[in-house]
Subunit: 336 residues, 4 copies
Amino acid sequence: MNIGVIGYGYWGPNIVRNFNELDGVQVTAVCDLRSERLEAVRQRYPSTRLLTSDANDILHSSDIDAVAIITPVSTHFELGWKALSNGKHLFVEKPFTATVEQAEQLIELAEKKNLRLMVDHTFLYTGAVEIIKKFIDSGDLGELYYFDSVRVNLGLFQHDVNVIWDLAPHDVSIMDYLLNRSPRAIAATGVAHFDSDIENIAYISTYYDDNLLGHIHVNWLAPVKVRKTLVSGSKKMVIYDDMEPHEKIKIYDNGVNISPDKNQIYDYLIQYRTGDMIAPKVDLTEALVKVTREFQNAVNENRAPHTDGYAGLRVVKILEAATQSLRANGQLVELK
Amino acid sequence: MNIGVIGYGYWGPNIVRNFNELDGVQVTAVCDLRSERLEAVRQRYPSTRLLTSDANDILHSSDIDAVAIITPVSTHFELGWKALSNGKHLFVEKPFTATVEQAEQLIELAEKKNLRLMVDHTFLYTGAVEIIKKFIDSGDLGELYYFDSVRVNLGLFQHDVNVIWDLAPHDVSIMDYLLNRSPRAIAATGVAHFDSDIENIAYISTYYDDNLLGHIHVNWLAPVKVRKTLVSGSKKMVIYDDMEPHEKIKIYDNGVNISPDKNQIYDYLIQYRTGDMIAPKVDLTEALVKVTREFQNAVNENRAPHTDGYAGLRVVKILEAATQSLRANGQLVELK
Amino acid sequence: MNIGVIGYGYWGPNIVRNFNELDGVQVTAVCDLRSERLEAVRQRYPSTRLLTSDANDILHSSDIDAVAIITPVSTHFELGWKALSNGKHLFVEKPFTATVEQAEQLIELAEKKNLRLMVDHTFLYTGAVEIIKKFIDSGDLGELYYFDSVRVNLGLFQHDVNVIWDLAPHDVSIMDYLLNRSPRAIAATGVAHFDSDIENIAYISTYYDDNLLGHIHVNWLAPVKVRKTLVSGSKKMVIYDDMEPHEKIKIYDNGVNISPDKNQIYDYLIQYRTGDMIAPKVDLTEALVKVTREFQNAVNENRAPHTDGYAGLRVVKILEAATQSLRANGQLVELK
Amino acid sequence: MNIGVIGYGYWGPNIVRNFNELDGVQVTAVCDLRSERLEAVRQRYPSTRLLTSDANDILHSSDIDAVAIITPVSTHFELGWKALSNGKHLFVEKPFTATVEQAEQLIELAEKKNLRLMVDHTFLYTGAVEIIKKFIDSGDLGELYYFDSVRVNLGLFQHDVNVIWDLAPHDVSIMDYLLNRSPRAIAATGVAHFDSDIENIAYISTYYDDNLLGHIHVNWLAPVKVRKTLVSGSKKMVIYDDMEPHEKIKIYDNGVNISPDKNQIYDYLIQYRTGDMIAPKVDLTEALVKVTREFQNAVNENRAPHTDGYAGLRVVKILEAATQSLRANGQLVELK
């Protein structure tokens, strides 16, 4: 499979490296608007056939089977549409598209053309998320109570999208995958401190049926990096702390005892936890190895990849509703 | 000053001990419904004159100057009203009252009777909060951007109040004190997993003028205890982590550079922080020492205490609005 | 049982409180050289019959059954000898005595007089140490490889003993209990930065048979408090971090694979750990509750307590040899 | 400058990458005994002129100016000797050589031939060590009291060298650089649990004049990775924790008050620290960028590099003495 990669900025080099390391795949063309980025490709991968600043060179190339789009989200739809129209399988960086409508159109076109469409929800391919997923699906966690995720840091202030579209795709895709259901409504609050259109802090609440609640805090203006997700169920609770080098996942007994006896509060406050904590071994293989292999396999096996267009669409739906709610002072936005 | 203490459960013993250690103050009477709690007082403080299960014995005692009410919030109004009516100064555990109206009535009565009224917002008397307060007031933090507080643990499920009334009074009183202004609107989301009236997880957003945003996460169903507050300004950011034994306060340079040059992202991601971090020495004196002394001084000096009825009222206003919003699916509640 | 306590400084109040809370035990006399300390006892425990600055008042009192000595180690022998001579059971703070010879004489006297003798090795009664002990004795840890303990802080510089006699009794008593054998030799290094006789930093190596090695680092001049013990065996490893509020004990798979294949290093460095980590629930009951109860039971049941004179002697042997080695430039000191 | 690199195992790729990224330097030849490693070079750097399994091809090549030796220490002397003999500048991985004598001979030969000789003590080029060095040299730390370093992990069990030669070169080189003096004597203890010649845990004490003490703990059999160094002086103390992603360096006020008043212990235990803590911003540039540039500059400027042969020799002296002491039951080894 010959792949053309459009966009060689921060994330592009990881995509190119991982596709190039797959047997049976080679990145034969790279596009970037900046000549120094193309020069970086040339030095690192001298055998790359085509280096261009014009995406059309890739989109119309007859010997390219698939296109990977690693550009700002505002360009995903146009580039993706052309790629699919020209018969190329499509690999798109997250978030999938800038609107729900765009996502739906790309899915429809890919299906019509019988082409693969995959969104790079990288975190779903980490060993950590895989462990939590198995843990939920096996029933060990019990009935789900809430999902709470914090992703904050002293970040680059994007000029094209707000913090929801920049950071929350990670949390929303993890939440979508783990909970395996769609929220019925969204409410979000947030604020833009520097540029009235570009919120740099946001809190998103997602309402599900059965008293399940989701909450995501994303923030570009935090002094330290936090990447922490809690999933709580009726039997156990999981903490996923991506900043921990080794013990990324910790599983706790729920340990809640609802007692009619007020006096028990004293013992409770002293003893606190009611069971052991387990930190399972986490496979630390780079997630992009699995991401790129999944794309290759989906193409070769003519099947939908794990994180297909629908997965991308579900995420975009939540991002769009969250931004809408945020700008309406947190008003509840119902999802169909 | 002779003090009568009503309620000798979890917090009462700390109040009794601290009042008894003040020169010029003695706890001469203690009331609790449970005889074994009274027996505990008798053993520990054999010289306590009155041990009773009837609060009226204290409220009507002629030789008691002040009453401390350390009971569930639902009883604060009635007990407080009687205490003030009988000419006793009033010390009330937080939250002040169960409703805004009750708080206003107690304030009015205390003023009419020229009696002191103090709410035990303990955290405002900690060395940690004092440092942040000075830091904000001196202008070192710059213009305020946001206040974010997380107070979660595997807690006792209260039967009388939800998690907002149980845990958020701490954060709300700290927020009120540090930001030194009142929110114009509140939105809250949350859910009750066990008892339909008793929400055990809640997220509260408080909207201020000038793009200042507050957010509080309280939760009885978290596997580990977290007590962490962030205050961010245009110049610096503060993390207050109450679970840290020594470095409770960390002050970071804000370090945000809004760059028009996209290429700078690469340097930025590598270097991350743009300045030093300072963890100032924090006075670890037990806050209740200062709380009880403040009450004594306010009574002796015939002046309002630091955390007076109005401070208590401002907190109750936010708690009440938050619960109202939560039960209306996060609808914005405007505050007058 | 009537107990007389000699020494009401830093630790004495904990001893008095715990003995007083036992059914069937009362502290009827307290001795301290400082009148303000005696006044503190009087206020806290008004029913204490005898408050004195002369230890002989307690040692010769006819209605005292047992004496607890909570004074500097240099006084333990003389006070202990008098107590036993006068027919009183003896409870001694650690370290037991200032020399091996003194320890042996007290043990002999207690046996001759058929009196109980207990040393307050408090840590052996913590839930954390109990868990590790069970874990070793069950064979789950496998063959023992090493014991490594670090106990450092910015401490008070004692004027009477060096850091070995101040801090290492904790680690040595834990090591003695867990490993359940005696070292054949000791080597120690250290240095005194302020007072030539009072070393403030020391490293102690203890050599056992079968390639088992012990090492203890004690230090009064460290910027942060560390209390961390590692015990490694052929099957598992344990970390005991006493500064952790909740997860004091962590148990790791040993996970060592000795590979003849040099290439395996690459996988190894990426995957690192080879198994899960478990943090068992630790009983956080105050250890002194169990310490004082054990003394009471030993007296009542006329049996040796868990941490008897021999346990105290084994610890003193190591402390004495370590100081001797330290002052001989780390020369190996063989133990008989 | 054309460089030939011998050894493309774990560390070699980093060396090749960094030399190749320097202007004016290219890696023109790589040697490794394993064909798959050479193939890795070919794929990554297709323009490398010479790929060989025979080091002599590099050592005798006429168009190679400098040789980098990234092989096991046992081979350093022979390869280094040949490189220098053939007129090539020499870059050697740490530890410099397997014996003091070998180090002295290579230094002598390099001087005779007027060639540069540099040892890759990578850590001395990190931003963290640079900060501590400046801090010591400016006198801010005060008179030096001790250096304590812990470098432990669940490591690969080497088959050719013990844990001292594998891990301690890092700590010893940092200690040598920061303290800027040589120890007068060494004592070490340790044990081999699996292979009688290959100690897997060791404790090294280094004695300096003026009551300065060094101590290093290296260990292949620890459940978690620790890389922590303390340097304490009369004014301040520094903690360097290399596992911290951001706050690698923390500087504490010494805060020791030697008090003649025993009563002060109570205040002391409550207040603990006596000053602020500062975590300065650390330059996180990859150290090898500076290492390789220093080698290039030293060659171009015909001057000794920062970490020259003498720096390498000082480290080897300590490693050799430590192993000697360890095998003599910790007997003190005097250094000339």
